[in-house]
């Protein structure tokens, strides 16, 4: 442990604020260019902006990679290293987090993307944080619709659950709107196919191989692929495809620099930015003002790439042409002003049943717990 915190504490004007050690438990590798890396960078953001804060990281905590490790064991270690805040960054850890929260009542636990607080009955030292990725998915979907010439969009889905259904559907809503209003096409003609690989990332022999799914999207006529998985196969595959002379685009997911892998085919990436939320939590924990909450955090509409404020973001890609960009900006401003709410009825589920009645607007809960994909989307719902 560095000696720094001690001094910084003395220099610190805000007196009794003692240096904070916090644990960060990742479900995947900390450099997966996606979900886990975003959390990890969120942690770094805290370290850089909170005097004396130090992060203890544990990556790839899942039975497949670490049969010998358990959340409890890891948390024991973190607490023994002085952690007073532990962030578990997957709904895989929901139950276990509740468990350790009860075991360590005076340590604060954050389970990102979990919903115990929303459901109720969670221990009082446990909170949930999630960003409203759906909003960014609207944008990603819109960008896709603006780019497509064949009218076929492929969505590379991970596994099927409420969260992934929610985000795929959001992307579809955005796409349908822009396909109709900016491209002036009949939304019924938009072909939006979701293919689920079976997990958040590629597990050879067990999931579908994302690279192959991407290829088969293009082979079957799609010219835009959106990624919903943790790793960058979509953008990589698209880049390679483009290098073979096809005009194709991709929209990666999860990390702000998602475009870097091959910029010129990239429409932009929707990403999580956990920094602000985690910083807030860390501060409130260290000045012991933290209170339990279920935070579904909003983007900063004024600047979707401002890492110090926005919870989720959209980073325009080099692949966008000028007029695509113009339309997209217009769409974003509509969303920002709230003049446009894509969850306004009539919205039907994939099986044709009505979900949001004409003129109604879906509630947060309805959006969070979306039971199926929406009408007009192709691909399995269950």
């Amino acid at each position: 442990q560095p000696a720094a915190p001690a001094e910084s504490a003395t220099e610190d004007p805000g007196a009794e604020m003692e240096p904070l050690t916090f644990g960060m438990v990742l479900v995947g590798p900390k450099n997966d260019r996606g979900w886990s890396q975003a959390h990890y960078e969120g942690g770094l953001f805290v370290e850089n902006n909170l005097e004396g804060a130090t992060m203890v990281v544990f990556e790839s905590l899942n039975p497949g990679d670490k049969p010998e490790a358990t959340l409890e064991g890891v948390v024991d270690d973190m607490v023994s290293q002085g952690a007073s805040l532990v962030i578990t960054t997957s709904d895989a850890f929901e139950e276990d987090t509740v468990g350790v929260a009860e075991k360590y009542p005076d340590v604060i636990f954050i389970n990102s993307s979990g919903d115990d607080v929303l459901v109720g009955g969670a221990p009082t030292n446990l909170g949930n944080i999630m960003g409203q990725m759906v909003k960014m998915k609207y944008i990603a979907g819109c960008a896709a619709a603006l780019a497509t010439e064949s009218g076929q969009i492929g969505y590379l889905g991970p596994l099927i659950n409420t969260e992934t259904r929610r985000e795929a559907s959001a992307a579809y809503l955005g796409a349908r709107y822009c396909y109709e209003n900016y491209q002036g096409n009949d939304p019924a003609e938009l072909d939006f196919t979701v293919t689920w690989i079976g997990f958040w990332f590629n597990i050879p022999g067990v999931t579908l191989d994302p690279t192959e799914v991407v290829t088969s999207f293009f082979d079957s006529g799609a010219d835009v692929v959106m990624s919903g998985i943790d790793t960058p196969e979509a953008i990589d595959g698209t880049g390679q495809r483009a290098s073979r002379g096809d005009t194709v685009w991709a929209s990666p997911y999860g990390h702000i620099d998602g475009c870097d892998n091959s910029p010129n085919v990239c429409l932009g990436s929707a990403f999580f930015n956990w920094g602000p939320a985690y910083l807030g939590t860390a501060q409130s924990v260290s000045d012991s003002s933290w209170t339990q909450a279920w935070d579904w955090n909003l983007p900063n509409w004024d600047d979707l790439t401002d890492l110090s404020t926005t919870a989720v973001g959209w980073n325009n890609g080099p692949g966008l042409t000028a007029d695509m960009q113009a339309n997209l900006d217009d769409f974003i401003s509509k969303l920002a002003s709230g003049e446009l709410n894509l969850w306004t009825g009539p919205i039907n589920l994939q099986d044709g049943s009505e979900y949001v009645a004409d003129g109604e607007v879906a509630t947060d809960n309805e959006i969070w717990y979306l039971p199926q994909l929406l009408e007009g989307m192709e691909g399995p719902s269950e």
């Binding site: 010998e68 358990t70 099927i160 409420t162």
Partner: protein
């Protein structure tokens, strides 16, 4: 001559040390301080009572699988399918734990029995594929491993998914009564240790003191002769596989009933493969297996703390064990290297000097 016999005696340690040196070299390469590393690993394994307990707890499924493998190895079989057999055992146990209503002892009994059955059956499939279909158990096993994991994923994302929707991460936690009672809220269930010890004794006796063990040995050395001497190759092959599968299934049950408390995807995470290494490092000697299983478990658990303390990639544990087995395999027997070769040895060994040189 003195020195030579002396070398021969301490030789077994040489590969182990070599493996350690290799790993240290790797650490230095990545700018880590070996001392700190091994301290951290020691802490992680035996620093606190909880840690020691989880080392023990993790040892048990590993030990059970290794014991099973002793049988298949003796019969000359490479039961790589053990990974899938563990998974199927876990699935069967989970099924009972999730859906059966009974008192705790009954539940546990049924869970254990079904787990063993499931593992045995899954192994039996590989066995039959070999004896009837001529499909080598390595490939049959690999396919069955993936199928088992895919099957789990189907269950936890489909029929067995938690009410709030399948997330592929696991089923709901089992009721307390359907889990093994643990020691001092650790993950170590004394019952499982008991079972493992019984298994150890049984395997030891089976291999040393029974005609069945002898049959397996004959089968492993020369199936054709064994058959003509009255050993029913098919029966014994499948039996060996199924007994191994049963123990693996048991290991799977221990995984879900005491290590975890629900069925997760890829519940085994390579314990089966690890067990193969254990048995190889033990040079197929029954009594060494428990020690080495424990050692492996300690190394891997130590690697957790290692990662937390030093942020080093936790595959280090795997590398250390892997290199160790490789070196022992290659340089383990001083005879193969021509060191301390006694004259009888030479008489028994077919002469190939003209080709060797």
């Amino acid at each position: 001559m003195r020195i030579r016999t002396w070398i021969v005696r301490i030789w077994p340690l040489v590969p182990i040390l070599a493996a350690l040196l290799f790993t240290i070299g790797l650490l230095v390469l990545f700018g880590a301080d070996p001392v700190e590393v091994f301290q951290a690993m020691w802490q992680g394994a035996f620093g606190t009572q909880d840690k020691t307990l989880s080392v023990v707890a993790f040892t048990i499924p590993l030990l059970l699988s290794s014991l099973g493998l002793l049988l298949t190895f003796t019969a000359g079989l490479w039961n790589i399918g053990i990974e899938g057999q563990i998974v199927m055992g876990a699935v069967a146990a989970s099924w009972v734990a999730l859906f059966m209503d009974a008192t705790s002892p009954v539940l546990i009994a049924v869970e254990v029995i079904l787990a063993m059955l499931a593992g045995a059956l899954w192994a039996g499939v590989a066995g039959i594929l070999k004896t009837r279909g001529g499909v080598h158990e390595i490939f049959g096993g690999l396919a069955l491993n993936s199928l088992a994991i895919i099957f789990t994923n189907y269950l936890i994302s489909g029929p067995w998914q938690p009410p709030e929707g399948g997330s592929f991460f696991g089923t709901v936690p089992f009721r307390e009564i359907s889990q093994l009672s643990r020691f001092a809220d650790s993950r170590f269930a004394p019952f499982s240790l008991l079972v493992a010890m019984v298994a150890l004794v049984m395997v030891f006796v089976a291999l040393r003191g029974t005609t069945w063990g002898l049959k397996l040995k004959a089968l492993g050395q020369n199936p054709r002769s064994a058959f003509l001497l009255g050993v029913s190759s098919e029966r014994e092959t499948i039996l060996a596989m199924m007994f191994c599968g049963a123990l693996a299934g048991l290991a799977g049950a221990v995984r879900v009933l005491s290590w975890y408390d629900n069925l997760k995807q890829n519940i085994s995470g390579g314990i089966g493969y690890l067990a193969l290494l254990v048995v190889m490092l033990a040079a197929y000697r029954t009594l060494w297996v428990p020690l080495i299983a424990f050692f492996f478990s300690a190394v891997l658990n130590g690697a957790i703390t290692l990662q937390l303390r030093t942020q080093l990639h936790s595959s280090l544990g795997g590398i250390l064990t892997g290199v160790m087995v490789l070196f022992v395999l290659l340089f383990g027997s001083s005879k193969a290297l021509g060191i301390g070769k006694s004259s009888e040895d030479e008489a028994l060994e077919p002469d190939t000097s003209e080709i060797e040189s």
